[in-house]
């Protein structure tokens, strides 16, 4: 009797354990099913490299290059902010902060990582936008720079937290060995600890990038939303996520516009998937290198 009951429990858990896989496959199926029909109207090449995005015109054009470039510009800009700030903060926490300071700062950074993106977006709109507008004498402060700035600040706690974890995995003996040959703390940090934690830090950066490129609300609210080829960080752009979020409400279900937006989501999904897989591979190597179990 008991053993039958035991088996039933095991099977229930085993079945439910597949839920993540089911949802992931479900997402892939939905994106393909709803996204592929657009390629009957435009070729994949024209879709990705087309320079005009006019989905609602009477003769619509579905070229998403401006959107892709919008995402890339904003994300690259964000990287310039979140990588130095995030990694620098992590190094500070790891090397310079005392025990007490660390015990306070680390949780604070973790808590800050949970600020909702819509709040960042709102902050960008009401505080940063007028600031940028005045500073550069622009017609509008909603632009790629604003997006990069907000996105960068937003990703900083994540990058910092992950990078700090990576640093803490570096065995103490590495540092001691370095001190023993007369290196000072800075040399030890830059020449021994950082290279040892390097791939862990790289993982942190890639995951930060992946989060930035998939981020929706902030870029939707602060980048200005112009679906044109970006020329300057001081002009409005429309990243892929913003296009989906802004236009899906108006796109008639089953129409070309609807399919095109799913196709953008598909590309976005594949890009973040690749990022995550790269992060996974690097972090696995990192763990093996430092002799940690996978």
């Amino acid at each position: 009797m008991t053993s039958i009951k035991e088996k039933i429990y095991k099977w229930i858990f085993a079945t439910l354990a597949f839920s993540s896989l089911v949802f992931l496959i479900g997402i892939i199926i939905v994106l393909f099913k709803e996204g592929m029909p657009i390629f009957k109207e435009v070729t994949a090449f024209k879709f990705i490299f087309g320079k005009s995005w006019y989905p609602t015109y009477s003769e619509p054009e579905f070229g998403i290059l401006p959107l892709i470039l919008g995402s890339i510009w904003v994300t690259l800009g964000a990287i310039f902010i979140c990588v130095p700030l995030g990694v620098g903060s992590a190094l500070y926490l790891h090397e310079l902060a005392g025990h007490k300071q660390r015990a306070i700062l680390k949780p604070i950074i973790e808590i800050l990582a949970s600020i909702p993106s819509v709040v960042f977006g709102f902050f960008g709109m009401v505080i940063v936008t007028p600031f940028i507008q005045k500073l550069f004498h622009l017609p509008t402060g909603l632009c790629a720079l604003n997006g990069s700035l907000i996105l960068g600040i937003m990703a900083t706690p994540t990058v910092c937290s992950l990078a700090e974890d990576a640093l803490s995995y570096v065995p103490k003996s590495f540092r001691e060995a370095s001190f023993a040959v007369g290196a000072n703390r800075w040399q030890t940090l830059t020449q021994v600890v950082m290279p040892a934690a390097g791939s862990g830090i790289a993982t942190a950066i890639i995951l930060g990038m992946s989060r930035a490129i998939g981020e929706t609300m902030t870029v939707l609210m602060v980048t200005g939303g112009a679906a044109v080829m970006p020329h300057s960080y001081l002009e409005p752009v429309r990243p892929m996520t913003a296009a989906i979020a802004a236009e899906m409400g108006e796109a008639p279900m089953g129409g070309s516009h609807y399919h095109a937006l799913f196709a953008i989501a598909l590309i976005l999904f594949l890009v973040t998937l690749v990022f995550n897989i790269i992060a996974e591979i690097i972090s696995r190597r990192f763990r093996i290198k430092l002799g940690l179990s996978g």
Binding site: Y9, L31, S117, F122, F262
Partner: protein, 282 residues
């Protein structure tokens, strides 16, 4: 001596990094608190919007966010906990288990707007739940699933193997051991994960854009098939829709402060519990 000058400059830079980070993030909290506090009143918290979104309160949005979050957790917790139990307690290391692990990691990295599209296509259109609390809860639940799984896994793995053995050696079955010993011991860790997910889910906007949220509803939601107002969406809508930008901006400040306060409180509690838990185990 040059060596030490480099060191001092380097350390100064690191110090600046963390200061800048804290100033940026602190200023967000400061501006929203300072300006939001002016708007918050008893009326703001306990009444619905009036006069075309220019006056009144945001209670329906607070209630909507509560329903959506509750629904998401009710959906994700049983699934996520079962998955963690299977991975930690039952599964031998195998190909299948690896596939499950990989899918959890990748699900965690899916952009939130993609979850929104999935919810739109599957729950709203395919299952015909419409734009509703139900669709939104499911969509947010899928987003929370990887968080709950990994927190539960961490909590289960922290339970010492020796007390599992003790229970089995007394003649307890595997499930008896999990139910009576493992889960009660892992409970604080699992709770931390749930609370963190609540913080995350409550603030998500993109997944509910097309699956649950409405800028304005008459009265309060009547069933799980009603569309709802939700705080994060409300902030977005106030800033991008409507006809009275200045009055709406003030209300958006109030909403942001409520949301920020809720989320920071919730994740603060979770992180404090985790900190204590780690302190005890270490």
């Amino acid at each position: 001596m040059k060596k030490n000058i480099t060191q001092n400059i380097g350390f100064l830079m690191l110090f600046l990094c963390i200061i800048v980070t804290l100033i940026f993030l602190g200023s967000i909290i400061y501006f929203i608190s300072a300006r939001g506090a002016k708007v918050i009143s008893w009326e703001f918290l306990t009444q619905g919007p009036r006069m075309g979104m220019t006056q009144g309160g945001v209670l329906p949005a607070i209630i909507g966010t509560f329903y959506l979050t509750l629904g998401a957790i009710l959906f994700a917790l049983p699934l996520g906990l079962s998955c963690a139990i299977y991975l930690c307690e039952y599964s031998p290391k195998s190909f299948v288990v690896n596939i499950i692990r990989i899918s959890i990691n990748n699900l965690a990295g899916v952009p939130s707007v993609v979850f929104g599209l999935f919810g739109l296509a599957v729950f709203v259109n395919f299952f015909k739940f419409g734009v509703s609390i139900l669709s939104g809860s499911f969509t947010l639940g899928i987003l929370a699933l990887p968080l709950i799984i990994s927190a539960s896994q961490e909590a289960l793995m922290a339970v010492p193997q020796s007390i599992r053995e003790a229970s089995l050696s007394l003649g307890a079955t595997k499930w008896g051991t999990i139910k009576n010993i493992v889960l009660p011991t892992a409970l604080p860790g699992i709770l931390t994960g749930v609370i963190l997910s609540i913080g995350r889910v409550a603030g998500e906007t993109a997944p509910i854009l097309f699956t649950a949220a409405a800028f304005y509803t008459r009265g309060y939601p009547k069933s799980i098939f009603s569309e709802v107002m939700a705080l994060p969406y409300h902030i977005y809508a106030l800033m991008t829709e409507g006809t009275h930008p200045d009055q709406q901006k003030a209300i958006a400040y109030g909403c942001s402060l409520i949301l920020l306060f809720m989320v920071l409180l919730v994740s603060g509690i979770a992180i404090a519990i985790r900190q204590r838990q780690r302190g005890i185990n270490a």
